[in-house]
């Protein structure tokens, strides 16, 4: 480090281009959005510049309270299911051979990259009356008539778990694969059984990583926009759906922007919390 500090491998001006691009197309849009969130709503569809807290005051309404309650409880449920399923999955995965790991990661990445619209369509087909599991249950004699399981809260949470699971595995993968295998080995040598080594050694060592992953999956599912519309009923719409609804269909940009600023603050706080939790333990 000391020898290289004389001349770094890259010149200073190299930072100018990315700084300019990110400032212009990322910071400036945020600035404008902040300004719009305190602007006055113009009934003709846009807004007039002004400074008022009206849009933020609407957060105190029962409507907003209900939207928040739905968003948070749906995402919390999905995040809890995802992490509970993904943690043992990741531990087993990281102990496999390189080739098997690569193949499984390809499947996970493909599922993660899949458009929400395709996932929503696939799941609604799977849960539909004519082509879905209802047919299978009917054929097995479990139910009298094939039926549809969508739209429903169950379908929505299934969908959120579908997008959240690969994400949870990928977030857990680095800390889990870095866990020293000798710790587990030592516990086994001392006579701990498989499940005891798992719950007594692996889980406590990765507590921070698990909490961090839980928060990140929560933020990730909170951002889901299409699944609540495709798989849920309108009472299951989340904050993301309402932001778009206000901005595009209700022509109330200031209120949409205010909700968006609120969501951003919540997400930033949570992401910060997650990185603290991840640093505290496990991510050695």
């Amino acid at each position: 480090m000391s020898a290289t500090s004389v001349q770094t491998a890259t010149p200073r001006w190299l930072g100018l281009w990315p700084a300019a691009m990110l400032t212009l197309f990322f910071l400036v849009p945020f600035g404008i959005m902040l300004a719009v969130s305190v602007a006055h709503r113009d009934v003709s569809g846009f807004y007039e510049w002004s400074f008022e807290w009206d849009s933020y005051a609407r957060f105190l309404s029962a409507f907003f309270g209900k939207v928040m309650a739905v968003s948070i409880s749906v995402s919390l449920t999905a995040a809890a299911i995802c992490v509970a399923l993904a943690f043992p999955f990741t531990v087993f995965l990281s102990n496999m051979g390189h080739r098997a790991q690569t193949r499984i990661l390809v499947v996970l990445l493909s599922a993660l990259a899949l458009s929400e619209v395709i996932i929503g369509f696939s799941l609604s087909t799977l849960l539909s009356q004519t082509a879905g599991i209802g047919n299978l249950f009917h054929w097995l004699g479990l139910i009298d008539e094939p039926r549809a399981y969508t739209p429903s809260l169950f379908a929505l949470i299934t969908g959120l778990c579908y997008i959240g699971f690969p994400f949870a595995v990928l977030v857990l993968y680095p800390p889990v694969s870095r866990l020293d295998p000798e710790i587990v080995e030592a516990a086994r040598v001392m006579g701990a059984s498989g499940p005891r080594a798992f719950f007594g050694v692996i889980v406590p060592n990765l507590r921070g990583a698990i909490v961090g992953a839980f928060i990140l999956v929560f933020v990730f599912t909170l951002g889901s926009y299409l699944l609540p519309q495709l798989l849920g009923r309108s009472e299951h719409w989340t904050l993301s759906v309402h932001i778009t609804d206000q901005a595009v269909y209700q022509s109330n940009l200031p209120f949409g922007a205010a909700m968006s600023v609120f969501l951003m603050l919540v997400a930033l706080a949570l992401v910060g919390l997650a990185s603290l939790a991840g640093r505290e333990r496990g991510a050695a």
């Binding site: 930072g15 990315p18 990661l105 990445l109 951002g223 595009v248």
Partner: protein
């Protein structure tokens, strides 16, 4: 737990992830215009239909053009950013890294609304270049992460050696750093390409009514009822993602790209 039980657990979950796609693949083979499982009159008719109907071909072309350009833009921003941040520790480096990571860490609807208001104010709303730039900025994180990983793996002594032999900064970059970074740039490009192809909310809010991408087209078509073409498009998209990630896995070190440090090639 025994080895067999662990493998079963992993396989059951993978099967659940694949189940909806298997159903959709089967549904795409329906002969008549209906969604039935098992398929009625299996045929590949709708696969041909996709490439004949311009209402599907135009969004397909939009999606490909946007993904190809946006991923290139993301790499063009991420490469100098990663090089600048490499070996630097000041506030500027921290702020730049933060800006590079933030768009992806936040719920996408926030960036989408920000971009929408931005382009409305500046006048690019509804244009394809607005979608391309928005996607490019949104996806900077992916090549940034892969290229930074590549830089971390570069052996300092190689650079010292090149310098001792008389290479200047540009020479070192061209002959040592760049060749070592290319695989990471390619995988960063591929990640960004696939995600842009599948991205909905930003494309929709920036130019959804004029520049229809494939995910937007699928969503719009869903409202008018099901046709097997929807299943065909889903199958093609899933296959394309799997192919691209499969290629990265085949020619690169996917576990390392995703953060595992121990895993080596067999």
């Amino acid at each position: 737990m025994t080895r067999a039980l662990k493998t079963t657990y992993v396989l059951v979950i993978l099967a659940l992830l694949l189940a909806p796609l298997v159903i959709v693949a089967a549904v795409s083979l329906n002969g008549p215009q209906s969604l039935r499982f098992p398929p009625v009159d299996p045929s590949l008719r709708w696969y041909g239909e996709l490439f004949r109907q311009s209402e599907w071909l135009v969004p397909l072309r939009h999606s490909l053009v946007i993904a190809a350009c946006a991923a290139a833009l993301a790499v063009a921003i991420a490469l100098p950013l990663a090089l600048y941040v490499w070996e630097r520790r000041g506030i500027a480096a921290k702020a730049l890294t933060g800006m590079g990571l933030a768009p992806f860490a936040l719920p996408p609807v926030i960036s989408a609304l920000g971009f929408m208001i931005f382009w409305m104010t500046l006048g690019g709303y509804g244009r394809i270049y607005a979608t391309i730039i928005s996607h490019g900025i949104f996806l900077v994180t992916l090549p940034l992460v892969t290229i930074s990983l590549g830089l971390k793996g570069i052996d300092r002594s190689l650079i010292e050696a090149a310098r001792v032999m008389g290479a200047g900064r540009w020479g070192v970059f061209r002959t040592v750093i760049l060749p070592l970074l290319i695989p990471y740039m390619v995988s960063g490009y591929a990640f960004a390409f696939v995600l842009s192809l599948n991205e909905y909310i930003i494309a929709y809010m920036v130019a959804g009514f004029t520049v229809e991408t494939l995910p937007i087209k699928i969503f719009n078509a869903l409202r008018y009822g099901y046709t097997p073409i929807l299943a065909v498009v889903s199958v093609i998209f899933a296959a394309l993602s799997a192919l691209i990630f499969g290629l990265i896995g085949r020619f690169g070190n996917l576990p390392r790209l995703l953060g595992a440090e121990r895993s080596q090639h067999d």
